[in-house]
C-alpha cells in the first residue's frame, strides 16, 4: 500500500484479538517453520484464552488447510488463486495485509525464512505495526496481552526483550529451527474459510522464470548430526565424518569455513548463515566453536566435541569433550559403535528352507 506515513497507535487495542500466523508453503506443502509457528502461536493464544488463526495462500490449499487444523489451528483463513501458487511479494503482502486489517489480530507471527522476511516488514508498514525480527523466545503477558518478543543481539551474547505497546498487530518473525514442531491434536475441530481471489494484474508483474531446486540436505529433521570443521585439515576428512554419521544413523554437517573452502557443499552448513539444528546428538569434529556456528547448534540435546585445542570455545557448549586427535578419536568411536551394535542387535530370524 502506498504512502510514506508514520505508524499511528491504535485507539482501542482491546479490539484487537487472537493470534495469527502466516503458514508458508513450498511446493504445496507446509514448511517445517510454518508448523513451528502453529506450535508457538497456539501456546500464546491458549495463554490468553484466544484463538489461533492461520493464514494460507496458494493455488490449491485444501490439504494444507486440513493439515493446519490437525496441528491445532482454530481458524484457517485461506486465499486461493492460480497466480498465488508460488510466493511473490506483492500479491501475498496485499492479500495478507487485507486479512490483517479486516480481522484485527492482537499478535501476528511469521517464520523468519527468506520469504517470511521478504514479507514481514511490508505487512508491518502497510498495517502501521511494529515487528521484531528473528525471535528465539516468544511469550505473552497474561493481563496486558502484550507480546514479549525476545531476540539475540550483540553477537548472540545478550537477549533483548522487545515490546510493541501501542500499535497493532504486534508482529514478530521467529527464527526457524528454534521452536518445536507441535504434536497433531487428538480431535481437530478447526474451521476452514477459503476464498477465491482475483488478483489485480498490477501486482503480478514479477515473473518467476525458473526455480533450480537444490538437493536439500534437511539437517533440521535429523536426530543425529556429525559435523566437520577446519580441524579436519583436508576435504577428505569429510569421508570420516560421513562414516561416523552413517554408523549413528545421522547426517553430515559442516562449518561455514569448510563450505567456503569447497570441502563440502553449503547444503551441509550449520550456523548463522546455514541451518539451525536441534538433534538428539551433535558431534562437533575439529570445530573451534565460533559464535556463528554455535548459533546453529547450541540447542542440541547432547553435544560431543572433539578438538586438539583444550581451550576450544566449543567445549563450553559440550556435554562430552575429547581433547584428542580426531583422526584417532573418530575411528575409535566408529569401532566401538560397530561393536555395540553387533552385541545388541536382535539376531535375524532364520529363513525356513
Amino acid at each position: 500500500m502506498a504512502g510514506i506515513k508514520p505508524a499511528t497507535p491504535v485507539a482501542k487495542p482491546e479490539e484487537y484479538r487472537n493470534v495469527f500466523v502466516f503458514l508458508e508453503t513450498r511446493e504445496d506443502k507446509l514448511v517445517r517453520p510454518a508448523l513451528e509457528m502453529i506450535g508457538v502461536g497456539k501456546r500464546i493464544a491458549e495463554k490468553v484464552n484466544e484463538k489461533l488463526y492461520c493464514i494460507l495462500l496458494g493455488g490449491n490449499i485444501k490439504d494444507q488447510a486440513k493439515e493446519a487444523v490437525s496441528y491445532g489451528c482454530d481458524v484457517v483463513l485461506g486465499a486461493e488463486s492460480p497466480v498465488l501458487s508460488t510466493y511473490r511479494t506483492l500479491p501475498y503482502s496485499h492479500i495478507i495485509s487485507d486479512f490483517v486489517k479486516t480481522e484485527k489480530p492482537n499478535i501476528f507471527l511469521i517464520p523468519a525464512t527468506r520469504n517470511g522476511r521478504d514479507l514481514a516488514s511490508r505487512i508491518a508498514v502497510s498495517c502501521e505495526a511494529g515487528v521484531t525480527a528473528d525471535c528465539t523466545e516468544l511469550d505473552v503477558e497474561q493481563d496486558t496481552r502484550i507480546l514479549l518478543a525476545n531476540r539475540p543481539t550483540y553477537g548472540e551474547s545478550m537477549l533483548a526483550e522487545i515490546l510493541c505497546r501501542k500499535h497493532r498487530p504486534q508482529m514478530a518473525t521467529a527464527r526457524p529451527g528454534i521452536f518445536p514442531v507441535p504434536e497433531k491434536i487428538k480431535s481437530p475441530k478447526g474451521e476452514i474459510r477459503i476464498k477465491e481471489v482475483n488478483v489485480d494484474k498490477s501486482l503480478l508483474r514479477k515473473e518467476v522464470l525458473e526455480f533450480r531446486k537444490k538437493n536439500v540436505v534437511d539437517l533440521t529433521a535429523a536426530k543425529v548430526v556429525v559435523s566437520g570443521g577446519m580441524g579436519l585439515g583436508k576435504p577428505d576428512g569429510f569421508k570420516l565424518i560421513q562414516e561416523l554419521a552413517d554408523e549413528l544413523g545421522g547426517v553430515v554437517g559442516a562449518t561455514r569455513p569448510t563450505a567456503d573452502m569447497g570441502w563440502i557443499s553449503r547444503d551441509h552448513q550449520v550456523g548463522q548463515t546455514g541451518q539451525t539444528v536441534r538433534p538428539r546428538l551433535y558431534v562437533a569434529v575439529g570445530i573451534s566453536g565460533k559464535i556463528q556456528h554455535i548459533m546453529g547448534m547450541k540447542n542440541s540435546e547432547t553435544i560431543l566435541s572433539i578438538n586438539t585445542d583444550p581451550n576450544a570455545e566449543i567445549f563450553k557448549y559440550s556435554d562430552y569433550v575429547m581433547v584428542e586427535d580426531l583422526y584417532k578419536a573418530v575411528p575409535a568411536i566408529i569401532q566401538e559403535v560397530r561393536k555395540y551394535k553387533a552385541e545388541h542387535k536382535v539376531a535375524p530370524v532364520e529363513q525356513s528352507k
Binding site: M1, G3, I4, P6, A7, P9, T89, S93, R114, R117, D118, L119, S121, R122, V125, S126, G130, V131, T132, A133, D134, P152, T153, S157, M158, L159, A160, E161, I162, L163, C164, K166, R205, K206, E207, L209, E210, F211, R212, K214, K223, G249, R280, I303, K316, Y317, S318, D319, V321, M322, E324, A329, I333, E336, V337, K339, Y340, K341, H344, K345
Partner: protein, 265 residues
C-alpha cells in the same frame, strides 16, 4: 535516459570487535570501530557493475550520525556519484519502521529512481526489514536475497537464494533489490576518487530538509521498544572429559541414555 540507482548503506560497529559496557549493558560505541555494513558494500558493487555497463548515476543514501561520514566518502571513493547522509538528532533510536520511513522520504525527495539496492541485512541488527520496508513505503516491488543481478531494457533479472534452491525472477523497474552478503567482490576505493570525494564532499540532510516531522522519526516514531536486555544464559553443560581409553564407555552411555538409538539407521 540515464538510469538512476540508489544504494542504501549503513555504518555499523565492526562485528568482530563488539564491546559491551558491563554497567549499562549497551554497546560501547567509542571503543568499537565503525565500518560500512559488509552486505551494503556488496549492494554498492552490484550498482557500480550496472553503472559500468550502462553509465548509470549512482547515489548512496544513509541514515546515521555524523561519524558515518567515513562511509559516505568510502562509497564515493569506490565510484558512487553522489552521497546523502540523512542525519539529525531526532533520527536516533529508530526501529525499522521510522528507519525505513526516513530512508523512503529521502529517496522520494531525491526524485526519480529506477533501482534501489540495499544489503540483505546489517551485521548489527540483522533484521533484514529495512529494505522491504522502504519498498512498501515507496509502493514498489522488490527482490530479496539476490546473489546475482542484471539490468536489461527496463527489467531487473536476478537470482534469489532460498532455503531449497535458486529462484530466477524478472521484474520491471522501479524496483528495490536486496543483495546477499559476499555475493560479489566490492571494488577498491581509488586514491583519485578519494581525493575528489573529500573535496566534493557529501550532502547532509536533516528532518526539515527531507520534510519529516520529529514525532514521526527516531525513537518517537518507533512502534517497538527494547524493554530490557539480559545476558543469554547458556544451558550448563558438563563438558565431561573422555579420553581414548574411555570411548567404549562413552558409546555405551550414549546408547543406554537413548541419546543414540539402535533404530537410528
Amino acid at each position: 535516459m540515464t538510469l538512476e540507482i540508489i544504494v542504501l548503506v549503513k555504518q555499523v560497529p565492526d562485528s568482530q570487535e563488539v564491546v559491551i559496557d558491563p554497567v549499562t549493558m549497551n554497546l560501547n560505541r567509542s571503543l568499537t570501530r565503525n565500518v560500512t555494513n559488509r552486505a551494503d558494500e556488496n549492494a554498492l558493487e552490484a550498482a557500480l557493475r550496472i553503472k559500468d555497463k550502462t553509465g548509470a548515476h549512482v547515489t548512496v543514501v544513509s541514515m546515521g550520525p555524523p561519524q558515518a561520514e567515513t562511509t559516505m566518502i568510502e562509497c564515493l571513493a569506490r565510484g558512487a556519484d553522489r552521497a546523502i547522509l540523512a542525519s539529525d538528532r531526532f533520527f536516533g533510536g529508530a526501529d525499522t519502521y521510522p528507519t525505513g520511513l526516513t530512508l523512503a522520504a529521502t529517496v522520494s525527495k531525491i526524485g526519480k529512481f529506477d533501482i534501489i539496492f540495499a544489503g540483505e541485512e546489517t551485521s548489527d541488527s540483522s533484521t533484514g526489514h529495512v529494505g522491504p520496508g522502504v519498498a512498501e513505503f515507496l509502493d514498489i516491488d522488490q527482490i530479496t536475497y539476490a546473489s546475482s543481478v542484471e539490468y536489461k531494457d527496463g527489467y531487473v533479472i536476478a537470482e534469489r537464494e532460498l532455503e531449497d534452491g535458486t529462484e530466477v525472477v524478472k521484474v520491471p523497474t522501479p524496483i528495490l533489490v536486496t543483495v546477499l552478503l559476499n555475493s560479489n567482490a566490492p571494488r577498491r576505493q581509488t586514491l583519485r576518487r578519494k581525493i575528489d570525494a573529500i573535496k566534493k564532499g557529501f550532502e547532509v540532510w536533516d528532518h526539515d530538509k527531507i520534510g519529516l516531522q520529529p514525532e514521526h522519526v527516531g525513537v518517537r516514531g518507533s512502534p517497538t521498544i527494547v524493554r530490557r536486555m539480559r545476558p543469554i544464559k547458556e544451558r550448563e553443560r558438563a563438558a565431561k572429559k573422555i579420553d581414548l581409553s574411555a570411548v567404549g564407555d562413552l558409546v555405551k552411555e550414549l546408547y543406554e541414555k537413548n541419546i543414540v538409538k539402535l533404530e537410528d539407521e
